[in-house]
Amino acid sequence: MKKQVFALATAAALIATGAVAQDYSANLKARQGQFRIMALNLGILGGMAQGKIAYQAEAAQRAADTLVAVSHINPGPLWPEGSDNMSVDGTRAMPSIWDENADFLAKWGGFGDAAAGMQQVAATGQEALGPAMGKLGGACKACHDKHRAPQ
């Protein structure tokens, strides 16, 4: 009897440990890749806004379209519960993403709105990029202020 209880307890402990050590590396890679795609395209638009890159309407439009495309990625599979920085290494995603999920999703939606705004004006001229970049920067900051841990 004692042996059985012990075996059961060991099995339960193993299952529990398995749950804690669940591998989220694919999710982390996917969402960090998503932010990398955003950064690269923001770099094109920001470079043009600052005059560091020659303005080109088509390239600006494609960058803006890409941002909008990223904003359409369904966040659910990228952000499974338990993949926060208190539970796993290699992420700065704070537990507030899940504790205050509506706020997080609203801020992700805010990025979508700012990207759509950029998409509307990107091909209309260099001087339209600055203000649209300001709105995108605001959307990024709003979420990073609350849901991303400092480096």
Partner: protein
């Protein structure tokens, strides 16, 4: 016996001298007499000094309602930003301009008590007279809030406010960290960084008593929230060029298009509303750091 009496006398004298040295020292009531405030210019001071970043309610949408309530953890306890809206009862609406100036530049309340240096008066001590009266003029345009201030959560011995007087003797002075005569742009940058924007409060490491170690000025520090590091701004560590620094202060985007996070978000929100010249001045000062 005589020696004993002598010792007591010496002890009493030392204590009296200490009590005298650590007394709160407000500005004289007429320190800003004759100066006329300009609310529009005061708004620039308000943004650069980041008043709302700490004194707006947590997650407030209207950052001009300075009802307080944000919590600031430290090794000495948790400080809770008070209501400093123009409400006469719960805010500072009943203050005189001179009392406002004493709070900013001396860290002394109208009742003659030391404020805790979570309020960055060590930086504001360098604020120009005209900027103080302009800021006070702008203050009168802000909305009032009747939210009561909450007491700080500070335990003994730091709960003894007189102790702050000792701290001030050690750490408070009106000297620039980057000393000497500078050209107008670097001088403006120094004024913004060292006085108004109080960048050193987070970006400079502190000594055991919580004072800034100015010998390691803006060389980065542990995040007071406990997690992570506040980055260094010195040229050996911050490799961005002046244009990149100015663009970061305007939009929050780093040169590789990551974005600002944490408390720096509030700083960028304010600096985005300043002039391009002011952002360039900060960048020039930072690039010239030792």
């Amino acid at each position: 016996m005589r020696v004993f009496r002598g010792l007591i006398l010496v002890a009493v004298l030392v204590a009296a001298a200490g009590w005298w040295m650590t007394r709160p020292r407000p500005l004289p009531a007429d320190a800003l007499a004759g100066l006329e405030g300009d609310a529009a210019r005061g708004e620039t001071v308000f943004l650069a000094a980041g008043c709302a970043s700490c004194h707006a309610a947590p997650e407030a949408t209207d950052k001009r309602v300075l009802s307080g309530g944000q919590r600031f953890a430290s090794d000495f306890g948790t400080f809770i930003a008070p209501n400093i809206s123009p409400d006469p009862t719960h805010g500072i609406g009943g203050w005189t301009g001179a009392q406002f100036a004493s709070a900013l530049r001396r860290g002394v309340s109208p009742e003659g008590r030391h404020y805790y240096p979570a309020f960055p008066y060590t930086a504001y001590a360098k604020m120009r007279d005209q900027d103080v009266v302009d800021l006070w003029a702008f203050w009168q345009t802000l909305p009032a809030s009747a939210t009561p201030s909450q007491p700080h959560e500070v335990g003994f011995p730091f709960s003894i406010r007189r102790g702050v007087g000792v701290w001030k003797l050690l750490y408070m002075n009106e000297n620039w960290v980057v000393a000497g005569d500078l050209d107008p742009e670097h001088e403006r940058g120094r004024y913004l960084v060292e006085a108004l924007a109080h960048c050193g409060e987070c970006h400079t490491p502190r000594g055991p008593l919580g004072g800034l170690d100015t010998s390691r000025w803006l060389s980065g520090a542990p995040n007071p929230s406990g997690k992570g590091e506040i980055p260094a701004l010195t040229p050996d560590r911050l490799t961005w060029d002046a244009g990149e620094i100015a663009y970061y202060l305007e939009t929050g985007f780093t040169p590789d298009y990551d974005s600002a996070g944490g408390h720096m978000v509030a700083v960028v929100e304010n600096f985005g509303k300043l002039t391009a010249e002011d952002r360039a001045a900060v960048a020039a000062y930072v690039k010239a750091l030792p």
